[in-house]
């Protein structure tokens, strides 16, 4: 086992928080695996960024909403191929709408990708990490899971589900020296938030005591900390990185 390369797997590594986590975890010395769902180019760009700073990275196509695809991916690319030190469940999607107008498909798709997909990745990773007798799982939740957010019934429910999952997984996997934590980013400047209009952005900014939006790197630093030996006694926690937006 110890001959295998220490690896951090980050789902959704094409941009934003996933990309920043890939770059940061590579600096911590991990080989980095990122997944992407549609076009490979942005994920390959992430790999290039990692390689430019002296790291090792690979990108894999994986639809996180597809159970069988997840099972096959772990079987073919992870199990007995690498030493899976870290899983960052980051892949996520939004499809906003007020709840009375939300379609069944809109609800189910977001629950499927953000919650079901994260669970199945966690499940596959846990099987491998149990054998290794070590591992770190970090679920990317959201401040909106804690505070609620109009227009995001599907997304907030999924992200709040991740918090419950984090705590149960932390308890079940603790005997195998696997820690499971969640990170709850506040308003972070990424593609996901870029589409909001200025008025909404100003409204959010006024709610943030630190009076600025966070960066993907802010989240990546916290993820790297939770993956580090210094965080070995932290499990089942939700770390909020939100400029004080929600306390």
């Amino acid at each position: 086992m110890s001959k295998l390369t220490k690896t951090a797997l980050i789902t959704g590594g094409s941009r934003g928080i996933g990309r920043a986590c890939a770059v940061r975890l590579a600096k911590s010395g991990y080989q980095v695996y990122v997944t992407y769902v549609s076009s490979p180019e942005p994920a390959l760009e992430t790999c290039k960024m990692v390689e430019q700073s002296g790291g090792k990275a690979s990108a894999f196509a994986l639809d996180i909403g597809d159970y069988q695809a997840i099972v096959d991916f772990f079987k073919e690319k992870i199990k007995d191929q690498v030493f899976l030190d870290v899983l960052v469940n980051n892949a996520g999607q939004t499809k906003d709408g007020l709840l009375v107008r939300m379609s069944q498909e809109q609800w189910q798709q977001i629950i499927n990708v953000n919650l079901n997909g994260s669970f199945f990745c966690l499940q596959q990773a846990a099987k491998i990490m149990m054998r290794q007798k070590t591992g770190r799982i970090i679920n990317i939740s959201s401040v909106t899971a804690q505070s609620g957010n109009p227009g995001q019934a599907n997304y907030t429910a999924a992200k709040a589900g991740l918090i419950g999952l984090t705590k149960t997984a932390a308890q079940e996997l603790a005997p195998r020296n696997i820690t499971v934590n969640a990170v709850a980013p506040g308003f972070i400047e990424t593609d996901m938030t870029a589409s909001l209009n200025d008025e909404v952005k100003e409204k959010y900014q006024s709610m943030i005591p630190l009076k600025r939006f966070g960066s993907a790197e802010d989240i990546a630093e916290t993820v790297a900390f939770l993956a580090s030996p210094e965080a070995s006694y932290i499990t089942g926690q939700v770390l909020s990185i939100n400029g004080g937006m929600y306390m």
């Binding site: 149990m130 005997p175 195998r176």
Partner: protein, 76 residues
């Protein structure tokens, strides 16, 4: 290698105990010190090794090394 030997080998590996501790009538929990995660891992390892599926209800009945061997023999 026989099913008997293979199951015992899995038990030794999963529970981190020596081969001479594993008797056919050994109970996983009482005699071999397995906890619930150990049992789950044993079941998973057997599923993989023998390419079978053991559902949770059946798994709960597999309490001894012999029960595991019998299950594999009956379902392979």
């Amino acid at each position: 290698m026989s099913v008997d030997q293979k199951v015992k080998e899995i038990v030794v590996e999963q529970l981190g105990i020596s081969a001479d501790e594993v008797k056919s009538d050994s109970k996983f929990v009482e005699d071999l010190g397995a906890d619930s995660l150990d049992l789950t891992e044993l079941i998973m390892a057997m599923e993989e090794e023998f390419d079978i599926e053991i559902d949770d209800e059946k798994a709960q009945e597999i309490l001894t090394v012999q029960a595991a061997i019998d299950y594999v023999n009956a379902n392979q």
